[in-house]
Amino acid sequence: MLGVGEKFPSYSVQATVSTDQKKAFKTITDMDYAGMWKVYFFWPKDFTFVCPTEIAAFGKMNRDFQDRDAQILGASTDSEFVHLAWRTHHEDLKNLPFPMLADVKRDLSEQLGILDHKEGVAQRATFIVDPDNVIRFAYVTDLSVGRNPQEVLRVLDALQTDELCPCNWQKGEATLVGA
C-alpha cells in the first residue's frame, strides 16, 4: 500500500456527482482540484451496510473540509451507474456534496495497493493528499469496520498547522526564510 511521502497515482475515472440524470457523470483525474488538498476515501461495495453511515458523515462535514481547502472524493470499484442507483435509492446519499469515483478498472485501487485480492474490491482506505499530490496520511481498516471522519479532519488540521511564528524558534536555530 502506498504510504506517506509517496506521490498519489495518476488516474482518470468516471464519477457520479449528482442524482440528476442529465448531469450525473463527470470525468475526474488526479489533475483536478489543483491547489487543493484531497481526502480520498474508499469503500468496498455500494449498497452494503457500513458504508452509507460513513459516507453521509463525511457529507455532513463537507463544509469543514472545504474551509480547510480540502476536496472530499469518495470511491469504490463500482461503476458510476451503480453509484447513481445507490444515491438515488438511499435517503442519506441523495444530496451528497462530493463526487463518488468509479474505479471500475480497479487501476487506481491497484496502484494504491488497496485492492483486496480475496474480494476483488477496494479496502476501506482513506488518504489525505496535499496540493502537490503527495500522500500525507494513509489509514485503512478491515472490511467491516467503519471509520471516523472527525479523526480525518483532526489529522488534516494538524497537517496544515505549522508553527510559523518566530516565537517558537529557539536561540541558535536557523531562521525561517520568508516566502
Binding site: D157, A158, Q160, T161, D162, E163, L164, C165, P166, C167, N168, W169, T175, G178, A179
Partner: protein, 182 residues
C-alpha cells in the same frame, strides 16, 4: 466618519495625540504600506470601532485593499498569538515552551504582501497587546529582513498613538453624554 473629521471631534486634552498621528502618518522612515498597514492593524488591536472604520477608510486612499486585508490579518493572528505566547513568558513553568502550540497561523505565510511589512505590523500589534516574546521575536525577524531600528520605532510610535486615541474615543462619548447618573 472620515479620519480627519473624527480627529476634529477630539477634546483639547488629546491634541498631542492628534498632532502626533498626523506627523506619523507622513513619516519618511516608513513606506506607505508600512505606515498604513501599521495604522490599520493597530486600530483593530486597539478596539475602538470608529477609529477602525476611519483609519481603514483613509488607508484605502493610500494603499491597496490587499494591504488592508493583510494588516487586518496581522491584527487577527497576533490577537491570538499575543495571548498564547505572553502566557509562555509569564509562566515560570518552562515546559510550556516545549509543547506544540497546535494553533493554525497560516496567514503568517499566506498573506500575499511583503513579509517584512507583515512582520513589522506584528511587532506593532504585539506592542499594543503587550507580549514580550512576540515583540522580541518579530523585531528580530524584521531587522534580519533589513529594516532599521528607526523604522521599527516609527511603527511602534504609530501603535502607541493609535492606542491612546482609541482610549480617548472609547471614553469621550460616555463622558459627554448628559444621561450620566450623578
Amino acid at each position: 466618519m472620515q479620519l480627519n473629521e473624527l480627529l476634529d471631534t477630539l477634546p483639547g486634552y488629546a491634541k498631542d495625540l492628534k498632532l502626533n498621528l498626523s506627523n506619523l502618518l507622513q513619516q519618511p522612515e516608513l513606506t506607505k504600506q508600512q505606515i498604513w498597514g501599521t495604522a490599520v492593524a493597530c486600530a483593530v488591536a486597539a478596539r475602538n470601532p470608529h477609529l477602525v472604520e476611519a483609519v481603514a477608510a483613509e488607508a484605502s486612499n493610500h494603499v491597496s485593499p490587499q494591504i488592508i486585508e493583510a494588516a487586518k490579518g496581522a491584527a487577527a493572528i497576533m490577537g491570538m498569538n499575543n495571548i498564547y505566547y505572553r502566557f509562555q513568558h509569564l509562566t515560570s513553568n518552562q515546559k510550556y515552551a516545549t509543547l506544540p502550540a497546535r494553533l493554525r497561523m497560516n496567514i503568517i505565510r499566506s498573506h500575499g504582501v511583503d513579509q517584512a511589512d507583515f512582520e513589522l505590523w506584528c511587532v506593532a500589534v504585539s506592542a499594543i497587546n503587550a507580549c514580550g516574546t512576540c515583540v522580541d521575536s518579530h523585531e528580530k525577524v524584521v531587522r534580519e529582513k533589513g529594516l532599521s531600528e528607526d523604522a521599527i520605532l516609527g511603527s511602534v510610535r504609530i501603535a502607541a498613538v493609535v492606542h491612546g486615541l482609541a482610549a480617548v474615543l472609547d471614553g469621550e462619548p460616555v463622558l459627554a453624554s448628559e444621561a450620566l447618573p450623578v
